[in-house]
């Protein structure tokens, strides 16, 4: 028995040493990318199958550009926004299927769980969808990249702009879980720092469909601005019902996390003149339009910032693997951090030691229906927030990897 096993092992070693000549350090001669996302729930429009498509586009583009001497494969799975399902799947991928990086990971709880598994197995977690700042603070590690946006940059964009334009009194409608609370906390700080005042907040259960009670409380507060510290269907339902109860336009709404998919679903009539902060807009320049058109031809929708960020992060990862000549997590991470990111998504983007990818963010205002000239023509870009100002400065970091 023992003899047989040893022989098998020896054979395996011999074969490995022979076939390994070409790609000395790519494990099994293949780079395997796992897309772990919400394929069926609340976030499946803003991430979901669009993120899978974006990943495939990144792989195809990389193969065409770099002609790598290793194979690239993609697998995808639905984590159903549940941390336990996500970490089980990630473990299975890393242990048994040779997956080198788990990507996308929308929903904070999912992201935090998979980051831990990635650290334990020495693989990389590339996060485009999740929003909360603990990912690059208390819970940070050296195999994770938080790519597209976070609650700090959203608050810093939207809350700051609205307060500066005279929206001095705020009332928050907050989804009662980690993400909503983080967003409310970050936004309140920005409001106060810019001379505004927070009159109160109400925490609603997640998910909720009827917001009339909460909106009436916000109305009774008399605040000029009602800050929506929630996402997805919660945000769209709250906006729709605010108009119904005559709250807007007397009081204004500030959507602290809104995606283009939300604006598309609600229509411009209900969302016009709202401010929001985004990491990407398809109609920014020729490069974003060209890529988005390719995406649109396949998906029949314009990409959200999460989907565009997903493409950019996967492409950056693959380029780093080629440059480092290995898929070992530590070496690839070093290569990724050392190389600036330049593509249609980011100009001189940079991954910091806390895992935060910093790039320009955009403060946009939703167009009025009569200003929209063609399908998906939704935003006026009001301000480009430079990378250095958009994200939490390292001096405020609570990540143990940051040396101060």
């Amino acid at each position: 028995m023992h003899m047989k096993k040893l022989t098998t092992l020896a054979c395996a070693a011999a074969i490995a040493s022979l076939s390994g000549v070409a790609n000395a350090q790519i494990s099994d001669g293949m780079v395997k990318i796992g897309v772990l996302t919400d394929l069926s729930g609340t976030y499946s429009d803003l991430a979901g199958s669009g993120a899978v498509l974006a990943t495939q586009m990144a792989i195809d583009d990389f193969i065409a550009e770099a002609k790598p001497n290793f194979k690239i494969e993609m697998v995808s799975a639905d984590h159903q926004n549940k941390a336990d399902i996500a970490s089980t799947k990630a473990r299975e991928w890393f242990e048994r299927e040779g997956v080198d990086t788990a990507t996308e990971l929308v929903t904070t709880s999912v992201a935090l769980a998979v980051m831990k598994v990635a650290k334990e197995k020495n693989r990389i977690a590339l996060m485009s969808g999740p929003a909360s700042t603990p990912i690059t603070n208390e819970q940070c590690n050296d195999v994770s990249v938080h790519y597209t946006y976070d609650t700090y940059s959203l608050a810093n964009g939207t809350a700051k702009a609205v307060t500066k334009q005279g929206g001095k009194t705020w009332f928050f409608l907050t989804a009662d879980y980690a993400f909503g609370q983080a967003l409310e906390k970050d936004s309140s700080a920005v409001v106060v720092a810019n001379g505004g005042k927070v009159l109160g907040s109400v925490r609603h259960p997640f998910p909720a469909s009827d917001f009339s009670s909460f909106l009436l409380q916000a109305q009774a507060s008399g605040a000029q601005i009602i800050g929506l510290a929630n996402a997805g269907a919660d945000t769209t339902n709250a906006i729709k019902q605010a108009a119904e109860f005559g709250i807007t336009p007397k009081q204004s709404l500030a959507g602290l996390l809104m995606f283009i998919t939300d604006v598309h679903s609600l229509g411009l009539k209900s969302t016009q003149t709202m401010y929001l902060t985004t990491g990407f807009y398809w109609d920014l320049n020729d490069a974003t339009r060209a890529w988005s058109k390719r995406y649109f031809d396949k998906q029949k929708r314009m990409p959200s910032m999460v989907q565009a960020g997903q493409y950019s992060s996967v492409l950056h990862y693959l380029r780093a693997v080629k440059a480092a000549g290995t898929d070992e997590a530590g070496k690839v991470m070093a290569q990724m951090k050392k190389t600036p990111i330049n593509d249609f998504f980011a100009k001189n983007g940079q991954i910091r030691e806390d895992g935060r990818m910093i790039h320009d963010m955009y403060l946009v205002q939703v167009k009025k229906p009569e200003e929209s000239k063609y399908p998906w023509d939704y935003y006026h870009v009001r301000q480009t927030i430079p990378a250095a100002e958009a994200f939490q400065p390292l001096s405020e970091s609570r990540c143990s990897l940051v040396k101060k």
Binding site: R203, S212, S213, F214, T236
Partner: protein, 293 residues
Amino acid sequence: MEIFGVPSALLGSQLLVGLINGSFYAILSLGLAIIFGLLNIINFAHGAQYMMGAFVAWIALTKFGINYWVALLVAPIVVGALGVLLERTMLRKLYKLDHLYGLLLTFGLALIFEGVFRDQYGISGQSYPVPELLEGGVNLGFMYLPIYRGWIVIAALAVCFGTWFMIEKTKLGAYLRAGTENPQMVQALGINVPLLITFTYGYGVALAAFAGVLAAPVYQVNPLMGSNLIIVVFAVVVIGGMGSIMGAILTGLGLGLIEGLTRVFYPEGSAVVVFIIMVIVLLVRPAGLFGKA
């Protein structure tokens, strides 16, 4: 004036909003109660059928230009007809088996329906405009009441009490109730009980679809809109007493009010208050508030 530190105007408006939500609970739990009463099936597809009602209305409007008022009639008929088909081809085979089989079948169907709509229309939801006749609102002094919300309460109460009247006071209702008590005897008297059962399921499903059309202009029409609601509605039915018609209506309205109050005094608890009441009721009156022990 303030009551427990809450201005009475705010309290009044919250009660009214609670009543509006209670109207949805009432229609939905009524449908469930009727189906359970006669078929002994726990219809887990009820939420999906509510969602389909809203989607049929939305598709009718955007693809065929059929307006809200027609949709209010057409969508329940379309979805109800689908219900009849399900009853004839699948549910029928399960009546003699344990409740669990019916529950599993309808749960599976609900997942399939939701999956199909999600695949087709995505998850972000579609906007359905408020019908022109009901646009705007009235200032009640203590709150601004959108006219459409007022209409929801009126329409829901009319349908609920109409149903109650049909079941409790008409000959058809008498057959239904008799069929629930003793199907063999009713069959022996020459009444087509299987047909009666098919009709009942179709009607229960149509009620869900009706609620869906009512909800379409208020909420985003989204494939998961029913699954968020259905669990609460089940709790309402349990509290009211399985199979009790009036129990379902009154409990639906009452719990809407209680939920509305919770949203003022302790908003974080508003998602669980119904279940806390359910636990208490089950401990004190296991058959439900209006159920027969």
